[in-house]
Every structure is written in C-alpha cells, then in structure tokens.
Point group: C2
Chain length 381, copies 2
C-alpha cells in the first residue's frame, strides 16, 4: 500500500476547496453557504425584533465552525447541545458558553462536566432532586460551579418535572446546593415543533407558555428569578419568542432546514422564519437498470429516514422512492437521468443525517469554498 | 483546557479493557464475544456442510478486526463490501480478497479501485456495458486487473441487468475488455432476506435460483464459466447454499443478528441459521419523570430505526416505545427501572446502527475484553 502523504479525495475527504460541485465524491453533505448565511441572518433579525437571546442548538450540526459563526455573526449568546461529549468537543474548539439542554445522571459523566465547568460557562438541566448530591460532588471535586435549569415537562411528555409547585420545590433545593447556581427554566416542547397545522401548533405552545409563566411566578414568590427561560425550536420560535415569558431561543434546524420542517407551515402558508434549504446530500446516479427508474449512491448510511424519505431538490419529475443501506431508488418517469448525474437531496431530518458524515462540503457559486469537520459526530456519550 | 495525554474514557472511547460492563459510558455498541463466536461457527459449519464458500459482507460491521476474524477463524475465502472507500479501509488493514458487491461508475472512484487492485484481489459488479471503457481505462492507467461479476436482477428490483441473454451479452463484452476478467455472477436478492414467512421467502429465492441457473447455462454455451456465483444473506442462505447453483454466500448480519432478522422465521419456527443476539446498544436510564415510564440516553444518533424500534433484551416488561435524537422513551408499567440502570437494546437494523458508532465494546463474562474501531464508519464514498 502506497504511503499517503496527503489526504486522499474520496477516502479521507469528499473534495478539496476550489473543486467544482459536480466533481465532489458522493454521497456528500453539502452546505449552500449563501442560503446558510441568509438563514443565520433571518433568525438573528427575528430574535432582535422580539428582544430575546439566541442559544442555537448544536445537536443539529455538531460543528465547531458553525457554532463559532453563530456566536460571531449569528447573534448567539451561547450554544446549546445535548450530550457531555458534544459540550467537550465545543469547549475544545473555543466555545465558552454552553447549555447541555438535557439531564446528565451518570457519575462519570457528571465528573466530566464538573471538570469542563473550569473551562467554560456550563449550564445543565435537572428534573429530579436525587441528582443534586452527585452534581454537588462533581463541582466540589473540581472546584467549579454549574448553572442549573429546572427542566419542566411543558407538554412534550419526555423528560422534565411537572411545572408549578414541583418545579419550584426543585429550584429551591438547587439554590441551596453548594457548587450549583439556579439559573432558570428549560421549557422545550419538542413535538410541537413538528405540528404541521399552524393553529394546532399555536395551541400546544400556548399551553406550554401558560405552565412556564405560572412556574416563573411561583419562583418569584420565593425570591428566585430566572436568568434563563429557554426553549423553542425552528417550528415554533415566534410563539415562544413573542410570549414575553421566554428569553432564550434554542432553534437548531433553522440553519439548514429539512423535508420534515418543510411540512410545518405558518398561517399564511409559508415556512416558519422563511428559512430556505441550505443542506443537501449530494448523490450520484450509479445505475439505470430499467426504463423509468434509476439508482443513486445515497442510502441509510448517508441520510436518516426516521422522518421520511429525502426530497429530490432540483430535478423536476424525479422522486426518491426507496432506500436501502447504500442505495436510493429513484423514479424517473421521463428517463431524464444519466449515470453519474449529481442530484441534491433534501434530507428528511437534518440532525441525524449530519451525524452520519465526517465533513461538510461548503459550496458557493458552484465551487467548494471550505470543508468543515462534523466536530462532534458520534459524540453521544 | 488540560492537555490529554491518554484517551479519555467517555470522550474518546466508551470504556477500557478490564472495565465492568455496567461502567461502560453509554450509549455504546456492545458485542457479546461468546455469542459472536458461536454465530461465526454456525455459518462456517453450515457452509462447509453445503460445500459452498463464504464471503461475509463487511457492510454490516465495517470492522477490519471482524473481517480478519472471519477470514482466519470464520471460514471466509474473502470479504464483501459495498463501497470503494470500505474496500480501501479493509485493504489498508490487510484484507487481500475483496468483492465490491456493487456498481461503481464515477471515474474518480474507478481510478481508486484500479489502484487498489495493485494491492489486493478486487472483484467488482457491472450491470451496464457502458461502464466498461471507464473500467478499462482505470486498470490500464495503473497496470492492474479487475475481476468482474455481472450483477443480475434476480427479483430485487434495484440494480442489475436482466438475467439470461442480456447478462450473457454483457459477460461477453467484459471477457473481451482488456484489464478485466469475467469472474461470474452477482445474484443477490435483498428484499427476500427480510420476508418473515418461510414459504414466501422460499418461493422468492426459488425464482432467483431459476434465473441464475439459466444465466449460468447460457454463459457455459458461449464458453464462459462462473468462478463465482454469489449472493444470499442471513435470511435465505440455506436456500442459495443448497441450490447447487450458488457457490459463494455473502451473509453479513449473521455475526450480530438484529430485531428485524428476529422476525424472519424458518419452517420449524426458529431463526435462520440459529444465530443469536451478539450485538447490543447499551443505554442508561437518565430520567424517571412519571410513573410507568422512563427515558434512556440512546436515540436516533445511536441506533437506526429504519426497520423499527429496538427491542429491550433483558428487562421483562420494559419496552422501547419512542425515539428522538438523543433519547429513548421506555414504558415500564412495573416501575422497575432506576436512574443509571444499564439496559441492552437489540437494534432494529444492525448495519446502519453500527455505522453510527466509532467503537465496538467487546465483552465477555461481564468485562470489557477489547475495543475494536468501526474501521470504515462513514465510508460511503
């Protein structure tokens, strides 16, 4: 085997800066930089207009480059992530204000987060008073301080303590625990992000706002103020942002969009936030076995189908109709496709799709401008 | 940030050899080595008894360590894979006999495979005579030789030329192309692997055998013999292996099993091959927000749900009922789960699940015996 003195295009990286888009080795994860930058600006402007802060969710992109751009140019006060290892990856890359928008209970993970809090502002969610002794031990061992949000179940039915009195009582326990600072509420309603119908979505978030507001009031009565009342996502952020109750938005998918969020509509029939498609899986036609159909090289190992099959972006009449591990079946009734044609697919769900790839191929005007690593790919620990 | 002089457990690796299973950082991909070795032996013995060769599919595990074990102890004559970059990863790790059981059409990829054929025996599939000039150029440029199988569509409806005369004519073209050696037929019926009902599965494979046999005969009439008649998978291999037509089996999932293959039954109600569960996603309970339910830390970024939700392996009464990016919702009607409990999940589909992880944590008698990298993770190019 020949020694490799440089990165091999196709083995180590899908392309090099300067390459034309149609020479990128496929399947590859492609960012349209112009669209990406417009999406950044759209949410920044919307948050400014509503007078709320942005803490974009890095679980979407897992990229230190994108997190840095969100902080420097996208109006972000900090970054959200979901796992300790994501936070570690981001802190190593210089991000210094991170919310782990999740519960962490394993003592070994809490030890890591206690250590990480020496390097950056770290905020963590808690939904159970039994977690507090382990958190206190971790901060004490490292001489660090953790900010803590009480996660309330405001309708999502996943993690979170009940809003109101139970949340207030947990906050009081946090406030008296050494090494911990009570910092506010985590009130994220995940399923509501994906409700396609605007009035149903509005009703779900209205309920979440009511329980969150009541909890904030109960906390104020016992002298606890919420520096952060956080939540919201790409599907619902104008509702939380305009509620007067939330002060930090945690949208993630807005930078990219995906086929699932395309189905979420506003009252006037548009997309929430007006976000446009900035993320694609670039694929190549590899077989034309019969009239009316073709096979491309992007399957389950290049795109996640948990929220449906991908949408073919720029080929009229062509549809992605079947997926296997490394193949996509395309219907092409007009027989327009040729072998080696490149096609851009809008993934069904951007977050788990990005987590499959090692690189973002960043494109402008049909040329590769940069390669960004998917810094925290696979960091689910 | 402190310098890291060794791998950090939890950030870089999920565990170290010698660790107890219940201290492994989760979510983690775990191999039960005893079950894995028994599965290896089961298929080796079955192939021996049928007098056919084994060329196990590495698209399941993407691991050079497992490929090597399959060659050294599992009776494999070589390895199958699906993509050029998988083949490159395996050749770099010393595997010297590889079938890319797929079409490759991009000239840059063909150049890579032409170069790779200097280092190992490389066999490739073709379903279109238009591919041959590019293949010839790639071998000529590197002074290498490629063995080529004609892929026939024996019922799967994906890639592959029609069996019979079209396949024969393509084989003749291959045989006269410089740098290429006609090596036989690729006759894999993917969908048949997953037909739960044994008689329906038998009927589908019987049709595949008929078209394959007829093609072999037509080839013999023009003086072309098939060194390889390959195909079959974990769901159907006794049928192809016992057909007298196929001589190489390409089973992949047999080493691990998954929840989808558990639904595939033999006539006597057993599992094909008698394979047992050797692969698990180890997860931890991270929240007990309400009676009757719990939340664990393995979601879409740790397991693929394309073939359904995972099965809870060793917790009576507990079920995995909902998935989000980094969470799994568990129903636990008996309230038996405690925070930080470890649970083993049988993934719905092993191949794309393995592709999410960087490491296999190999366990015997409750202790970590080895860590194996997922060598070709993300290698879909």
């Amino acid at each position: 085997m020949n020694a490799l003195t440089t990165f091999d295009v196709g083995y180590d990286v899908p392309a090099r800066p300067g390459d034309a888009l149609d020479t990128v080795q496929t399947p590859a994860l492609v960012i349209d930089l112009d669209a990406f930058e417009r999406n950044l600006e759209r949410l920044r402007a919307a948050a400014d207009a509503m007078g709320v802060r942005l803490r974009p969710h890095a679980k979407t992109h897992k990229s230190a480059d994108i997190a840095r751009i969100q902080m420097e140019r996208g109006g972000a006060c900090g970054i959200s992530c979901q796992k300790v290892s994501e936070a570690e990856a981001l802190v190593r890359a210089g991000i210094d204000d991170i919310l782990v928008a999740n519960e962490v209970r394993d003592p070994a993970k809490l030890d890591r987060i206690g250590r990480l809090a020496l390097e950056a502002r770290i905020i963590l969610c808690v939904d159970d008073a039994e977690a507090l002794p382990d958190l206190a031990r971790a901060t004490s061992r490292h001489g660090s301080t953790l900010e803590v949000l009480v996660e309330i179940d405001c309708g999502a039915g996943r993690c979170g303590i009940s809003p109101g009195e139970p949340a207030r009582d947990l906050a009081l326990r946090i406030a008296e625990t050494p090494g911990l600072v009570f910092a506010g509420l985590q009130a994220y309603h995940g399923p509501a992000q994906h409700i396609a119908d605007p009035s149903e979505r509005r009703a779900a978030i209205a309920k979440a706002v009511v329980s969150t507001e009541r909890t904030v009031s109960l906390l104020a009565e016992v002298g606890l103020s919420c520096a952060i009342v956080g939540g919201a996502g790409t599907g619902s952020f104008p509702l939380e942002g305009g509620s007067g109750v939330y002060n930090e938005l945690q949208c993630g998918s807005y930078v990219f969009m995906d086929a699932d969020y395309e189905r979420v509509r506003t009252e006037d029939g548009g997309r929430p936030g007006g976000f446009e498609n900035a993320l694609f899986v670039l694929t190549s036609v590899m077989s034309r076995p019969a009239q009316g159909r073709a096979v491309c090289d992007a399957g389950l190992k290049s795109l996640s189908t948990d929220s449906g099959l991908p949408r073919v972006f720029d080929r009229e009449g062509v549809a992605y109709v079947g997926v296997s591990d490394e193949h996509g079946s395309l219907s092409d009734p007009g027989d327009t496709l040729r072998v080696n044609d490149r096609i851009r697919l809008v993934p069904g769900h951007c977050d788990p799709t990005c987590n499959l790839h090692d690189w973002y191929v960043c494109v402008r005007n049909g040329r590769v401008e940069a390669l960004w690593p998917v810094t925290a790919r696979g960091k689910s620990w």
